[in-house]
Structure formats: C-alpha cells, structure tokens
Symmetry: C2
Subunit: 558 residues, 2 copies
C-alpha cells in the first residue's frame, strides 16, 4: 500500500514550470553554495584523518546547519560570502570525544543524589545529610551513597537512629561505598514494611538500620520510581556534565525503555545537545523503541537505537567476573558466567536477525572466551558488517587475543579502569595472569578495532584522564611510576584515535562523527593547549573551554 502513496514531487501530474525569470534567478543562485556557509577561523585545529594520522588546520568551514564543508590551511583563501564567522583567536580546536561505553541516566541520577564519599566522620556525614535534606525539600526520599565506616574510624556500622536524628520523617537510603550495604532510617524501614519481626532473605542481613546484600533489595523496591520530569532533569544534568568534559557523543550501554522515553522527550523539546548511541538493555526494549530494525538516526543524528547489550559475566572487584581459573585471592571461586553458550547464541541471533548490533559485556577471561565462541558461531549465519562488540574485554587469555582480530571484533575498553583497578586486579588475578589484562596494546598488535570509553558513572569520565591512562598506564601525577604493566601502553595518537574515531566506528557512525572532515558534523571542542605537545600531566589537567555539537555551541566554560 505504500506504493499507492506518493509525494507531490513524484506525482506524475506535476509539471515543473521554469518560466524565464525563474531560470535567470536559478542561474544566479547556482553561483551561491546550495547551503549557506559559516566559518570558524583562526584556530589551532588538530584532528585525525581517515587513516588516523594527525593533520592541522586553521579554519573550519561548515554549513549553517552544522556539517563541515572544508578544513582550511593557513594559506587557504577564506570565502567572502559567509552567513557568519567566528574568530577563535588561535585557540586549539579538537574533534569532540566519543565515549564508547557509559550510562547516561545513571550518571544523571547519581549526580542528583547525596555523595558521602568525601566524609571523614559520622558527624561530618550527618551534617551533610541534614544539609542535603534541607536543600532538597521536594525529594520524597533521600538517596545517596559513598559512606565508609572504616574511613570514619567508627569501628561499627552507623544506625537508623543516627539517621533519624538528622533526617527526620523522610525516608533515607544511603549505599555503602562498596554497594554491599544500605543504611536507612526508620521512615525508610516503615516505607518498606520492615519491622523488627521481618526476617532477612537468604544471603542478606537486617540489623539496626543496615541491610546487607540480598536484604538491600527490600529497601530499593520501596523507593518510588522517579517521575518523568525527574528523569528528564537527571538527563539534562548528565548531558551537561559530559559536554563540560568535551564528550560530544556517547554510547549508552543499557538503555531501558524509560531511558529511551527520556531521550525522546528531551529531544522533542529541542533540548538534546549530545549524540547518543543507544544500546538497549534487552531485545524487547530494542524492538519497542526501534521496531524490527535499528532506528534511523534521529534528531540530526543525535539519537539512534542501534544495538543490544548483553551480559556474559559480572565485575572483577566483586569476583563476579567469570575466570578460566580460580581467583588468586579466593581459590574456591571462579566467578560466574551468566549465560550458557546456547543462551548467548540465541540472544545474539535474535538481535542480529533484526539487524541490531550486539555488544557483550565480558570482564573475565572465560567470559571473553565464551563471547568469542558465540560470536564466531553466529557469524556464519549473520554475515556482513556486523561489528560485534565486546565491552570491557578486560581480562583476556593471551591465546584468545588473536580471535578478536580475526573476527574484526571491537574491543570496547576503558583505559581509566587500569588505574582504578590495578591493585584490586593484581589481588584477584595474581601476578601470572596479567598478560592479557587491560591489554590495549596487544589488541592493536592483533589488529583489533579499539574503542575507548569510561564506563561512567562507575569511573571518571574525563576523556583526558582516559587518554593519558591509555598511553602512560599512569595518572596525571605519573603514578604508578613508569606505568602499570607498561608493555600495554599505546601511543598518544593511538589512544586519541580510540577515544574519537574508535568510538564512532564502534557505533557505525564513522561517516558522521569522530574526527573533523568534510561531510561530518562539526562536533568539536576548544581547549587551552595543544594535547599532542602537552606533558602527560598537563594533558590530564586540560580544560575544555567550549563544546560544539553539530555546529552549535552547546557548552561554554563560565
């Protein structure tokens, strides 16, 4: 029935009428570019070309709707006919960063919650809680986390009564730094229907306002779902935080239907300012959001539901990562692979059948091997440019590394994790199993397409930090000295490439974003120094002054 319909221009009855005066005008108009131009001039422009090599330019010419038409060198003549121009006074212009793995809504919600990670005593925490409660009278629950009674020197857990003293009748639920316990007040216990007679579920404990492990859920289920407007606000907050660090596009690695609805609502109201490469939390969500195939690029390429996220295992810190051999620090445990081989292949097939890209979370070496097995198995059926992704690819058996390259499987890695995890990873794995851990140099050696991200809000999303971690395996202060497992360093340019072009390629977006070149969107940042000449320490501390997406300034340092 679609064939029955037609646009007016296709209508066979339509006659094109070019009267003479129109033809004359048309000829004149031909001399003008079809799309008006804008120039951002006098920049110290640095980008990568399509081969990943560094190139320099001094002016960026774009259409007024934000697509790059030309990069200009110092000697290139500037067009006279311009709709507008901006002089950047010699500042450094770089392509915006693409974070290949993040959780937008989690970042937004966490940023709106109470953060106790910087408190050094119970009294200090209590004061902060009281202040937060007063400053946020509209919140029906006070949520937050980051507390650590060890750091407080308390020698015991805090109590419900100590929360009641400062938070009154409003329910409060504050997660411990390690996420394994939640500290609540009497109002929260009441809201959750927990009385002194309530028994904790197996694997959990309820004790004087502290609920551990399996018992935590009893509280979390009682927390009201956020309202649509609260979700929208959390998103706006996260978007602002990401833009302020120079991230112009981000994968969203477990988009729920409610998350998707937020992105739609915000974009419908013309408030979407960052590009979201969305990977659904399930095939059901992908289908509901996008239908029987990935969504088109929506809102001038600012939103696309392109794939599905699957989980092969858990995390290393909590010993949920699925390992081939037992944990060095828990010889009876090897973690747990969450899906059988058949389940993984079935889920992959269902996604791939509808043309959705598949991104598999795999931390442990066994989980990575199983993800590789499954990808290899289904690749026979689902051919073509599928760009199977493994998220984290954190601990890989060196014997499995070539399999990434052979299958052109994208390794979506988080360089900053190497710094946050290194002590823990050494404890969990022992010295003998670090050869394939956080091994981005080995990935490149094996010709693996590499994409960098941060896994925010679980780690620091400042891409300059990740960039430095990528080529130094150390932080901005040079710690650890010489870099952790320094054989896995890559070059500064390679790390930059993974954090820009790599993320774009990983989301089928390399023809739109990831570098500055004609035909791509003018997504760029203005920074205070040349990142290729800066010391690692200066690069770590680099400040973003402006962030532009699609030729529009979306954030500016005040």
């Amino acid at each position: 029935m679609i064939a029955q319909t037609t646009t007016a221009l296709e209508n066979a009855r339509v006659k094109l009428l070019f009267s003479r005066p129109i033809a004359a005008l048309a000829a004149l108009l031909m001399a003008v570019p079809a799309q008006a131009d804008a120039l951002i001039d006098n920049v110290n422009g640095i980008t990568l070309d399509e081969d990943g090599d560094v190139i320099h330019f001094t002016g960026l010419l774009m259409t007024t709707d934000g697509r790059i038409t030309k990069l200009l060198g110092r000697k290139d003549k500037r067009p006279e006919k311009l709709d507008w121009r901006t002089d950047m006074h010699g500042k450094v212009m770089l392509p915006g960063f693409v974070d290949a793995h993040g959780h937008i809504m989690d970042l937004g919600f966490r940023s709106m919650e109470l953060d106790l990670s910087d408190t050094h005593s119970l009294a200090e925490a209590q004061a902060k809680i009281a202040a937060y409660a007063e400053a946020n009278p509209e919140r029906t629950w006070i949520l937050g986390g980051g507390w650590d009674q060890e750091k407080w020197g308390l020698g015991r857990f805090p109590t419900a009564a100590e929360l009641d003293a400062v938070a009154g009748d409003r329910p409060v639920a504050l997660t411990r730094i390690d996420s394994h316990a939640v500290w609540v007040n009497s109002a929260a216990l009441k809201a959750a229907g927990i009385t002194p007679a309530t028994k904790a579920p197996p694997g959990g404990r309820i004790e004087n306002g502290i609920l551990t492990d399996a018992a935590r859920l009893m509280i979390m289920q009682a927390v009201p779902q956020p309202l649509a407007r609260e979700r929208d606000l959390a998103f706006i907050q996260a978007q602002q935080m990401l833009l302020s660090k120079g991230i112009t596009a981000t994968a969203d690695m477990r988009t729920t239907l409610d998350d998707w609805l937020v992105y739609r609502r915000v974009a419908d109201k013309n408030l979407l300012r960052i590009r979201i490469l969305s990977y659904a939390d399930s095939i059901q969500t992908a289908n509901r959001a996008a239908g029987g195939s990935p969504s088109p690029w929506l809102y001038d390429d600012k939103l696309k539901m392109g794939g599905v996220k699957l989980f092969a295992d858990g995390a290393l810190g909590s010993r949920g990562a699925c390992l081939k051999a037992p944990y060095a620090d828990a010889p009876k445990q090897s973690g747990q692979c969450l899906l059988t081989d058949a389940q993984l292949k079935n889920l992959m097939s269902r996604a791939a059948m509808d043309g959705f890209q598949v991104a598999v979370h795999a931390i442990g070496d066994k989980a990575n091997a199983e993800a590789l097995d499954a990808i290899e198995a289904v690749s026979d059926t689902y051919k073509g440019d599928r760009r199977w992704r493994i998220e984290h690819a954190q601990i890989v058996d060196p014997a499995d590394l070539p399999r990434f390259g052979k299958g052109s499987i994208i390794a979506s890695m988080q360089p900053i994790h190497a710094l946050s995890d290194r002590t823990m990873a050494e404890a969990r794995l022992g010295p003998g199993r670090l050869a394939g851990a956080y091994a981005w140099h080995s990935m490149l050696e094996n010709k693996v397409p590499l994409a960098f991200g941060s896994d925010y809000p679980n780690d620091d999303f400042n891409p300059f930090h990740g960039w430095v971690a990528g080529f130094t395996r150390a932080d901005g202060a040079g710690q650890p000295f010489g870099g952790w497992q320094p054989q896995e360093r890559i070059t500064r340019e390679e790390a930059w490439r993974a954090y820009t072009m790599g993320g774009a390629y990983a989301a089928f977006a390399e023809d739109r974003i990831g570098r500055l070149a004609p035909g791509l969107w003018a997504d760029f940042i203005i920074v205070d120094a040349d990142p290729l000449l800066a010391t690692a320490s200066d690069l770590w501390n680099m400040q973003v002054e402006q962030t532009w997406v699609g030729g529009k300034m979306m954030w500016k340092r005040q």
Copy 2:
C-alpha cells in the same frame, strides 16, 4: 544550565558579515518568496472559513513543504514563479476530515483479524476459518470474531471440536458478535492451561469451547502480545483505511504506551501519513510519552500527545452506561458510574496540573452529569483555555444541556451511532428519555462546541456516512424515513463543520488543520461530486479519489 549553552547564531563572538556582493544578492532574494510555491489549480474548491461559512475557490497555492499560502478565485492571476503545479481538471477539493474520536490500533488489529460477521452458517464459518488459517501461516494464534450462532440457525453454541476440525493445532479464539463470549479450540484451551477440571471465575462460564463473560479473560491473557513489527503493520493498515475515506487527522482516544511507540517508530521511518491527536490511556502514559507537559507537535504537526482519556461509565448496549433512572428494559439496573466524584476530580486535576487536556467518556445521563460536575469543580482551579471534552455525550438530561454551553465544554459526538444504536437506545431508555439522546442540535442550540467522529472500529468510520447521519438522522437509503428523532438534525454545513473544524478545535489544532486557509496545512481530499449539492444518498456514497496531507498525496484510488 541551559542558559550556559547557546546556538552558534546567538554566540556573542559571531559577526555577521554582509559584504557588498552578498548584500546585493540578499536584496534580490528578498523579491522572491522565502519559501518556494506550488499550485494546485483548476479545482472546484469548497471549504469553510473561520466563521464556518462556505467559500469557494479554484486554486490552492502552498509552500513546497505543504502549508497553504493562498486560496485563488477564478479571476485571480496565477503566479508565474512556481516550483511545481498540478491541474485537477475541475475536480472537487475539500478539507480533509478530522475524526474526533477513534482507536487507531484497534482498527488496525481488527482489520488483520478474521471477520465472521458475514457468515450465515457454521459450515460457512468453518470454511472461512480454514482459509484464513492457510492464508496466514505466520500467525501463532488465529484471532477474530463476529460470529452469531442465532444467525447461523444453529440452535446451540459451536464447539471446540468444530474448531479443531478446521484449525488443527494452532490456537484459535473467536469473539461472538456481542463480545460476551469467545469460541476457542483445544489448542487455545491448552495454551491457556484450561483443563476439564478448571473452574470458571465468578461471573463466567466454560463450556465445550465457549467461554463467557468473566471467563473470557482466561483466554485473552494467554494470547501472546503482538510483536513490534505486527503492531507497526496494524498501524500502517489502519492509516491506509482512514486515508482512503478522506480522514487526514484523527484523535486517538486511548493511546497506550505501546501504541505511542508504534507511532514514533513509524514516524521515525518517515511512514506516518496521517495526523494523530493522541489522548493517553492514563496520566502515567501521558507522562512517559510526553513528560510533565503535552508533547510539542511532532513530525511536521503529524503527532502530538495532548491529553488524557478518562472513563465515567461503560456503554449503552451492554447496560454499562450510567443512568439517572433505571433501564427501561431492565428496571433493576441503572448501569455503573466507574469513578466516584472525588476520583474523577483527582484524575482531572492531575492531568490538568501538567497541562494535559481532559477527555471524559460519558454515555449515560448520570455519567454526563457527573462529568459536568467534576469539570465545573476543577475549572475553578485550572483556568484558561482548557477545552474540557466529554466523549460521546450520548444520553444527556435536557436539564444538563446548558451546562455544556456554559462551560464551553466540547461535546465529542458520533452521528453514525444514532443510526446503529437507535433501536437499542429506544429499548434501553424507553420513549420518555430520548429528548437529550444523541442530541447534537440541542448542543448547538446551547452554543456547545461540537466535534464529530465515529468511534472506529466500533462503528463505521466513513465520514460521509457520519455527515449524512448528522443532518438527516437517517442512512444513505433514507432509513428511517424522515430521520430518527428528526428534531435533532442540524444543517449540512453544521455537520460538515463538526467533522472538520470541530475536531480540529477540540484538539487545539484549529490553527493548523480543519479547513483550507492560508497558514494551515494543505490537508485536503479530492472527491467525485459537490457534497453541498449532492443528494443525501449521493453524499453517503461519495468516493474519495485522493487524500493529501501536508501538501503530499498520501493516498490515491487505484
């Protein structure tokens, strides 16, 4: 934080550069209309003006993106500078119809199901079921309805075995014409977990493949939810059906979140061809779809979530309509008002607080009175142009009629119902209570804003049928002779107005659609005769040749 961001054009550093050659060109361009024009010429154009008076024209000038710029009379000079023109060879052009009350997805799904309403024997029905099963091998369940064992002359209900004989192992569920019973086969019983030992719930009966009333749900819950692509297909089907009858915009009067997702998916893929004025099935859905306020007009004004639908009572036929006095044909029943006064006011307040329009389903005179009570009560708080709607306003106590006018409350009525319901309505109400029944003339007398629709798929959505019913109170064959309750006839023009401008106004869309005038969208139909000169019978049978939405031909008779 939004204040921190800015578009490039707003950027303080931007300098507008108007060099001399550009200025000269700009001056030249000023002489040309900013937006190129298209002409649909040589039409017998008839529309209503903003006062609802009939006007004629012979050419429609519009921008190439589909907005009307001018209606041209016979003597008006045609512009020479045109992007394209079409000659309609004198055919009649009318504004597209706006159906003020329909259910798009129900129409689509019903159209894809098996319809047994035209079968005259069990054997004929069995043959039709077998043919449908064979023609639709991909359907995991065979769903449909419309059967009537009385019409078949069967003298008993059909049985599961009689279905098994023709439908094999695939579950089948076929609803009786009155919706009070479902006929299933053994596979459906098995899928629903119903065995001979299963007891029917109170108010229901299970007997040899027939499940009545409350027992029906046991089957319906076992029917798998449609896949996203099945929903999309159902939508495309419904859209096509509506366009083919000249409906260019329709209210969707109980949009679920899944329905909303369909409209988004279809529109994202550029396949939305009709305008949808969406009223959510709940405040929750409204918030999830649109946020804390109505959505903007999306996709060139083709979709908007603007309101919420509430239910004050049920339907007259099943004696669910809430009456002030008992049913004439069931003296112990008065129907049931579904919400208390407090509930109705609370729901209205919640919707109105977020700026959503409220549309209350009210059939019986008591339900209408309660809806009016609630609207009058909340109007004190939620002032301004709220356009409270009562859907159906079917049986209204004549004493309550002036209250519609006083509150400028929209009566959203379905003229075709008067024809389908008249015998049943006389039985339910008796002769003494028809004064305020289907009383659109009285509504206009009381200066009530009137919007016409069809309540499809529960009734015939052909707007020409509704139009004729509106001014004749009879069908195309003139039955009943002289019209039913003819004192409630309105003029041909008034009925037309209610089916076009009335529906637009009822959805806050009168500045976009509902008639043909500069600034509004070019939503029009081409028909085979002048509807103002045609006999009622010819108007009833009028054929739509083309349907255009936003200046594009979206449907054409083959």
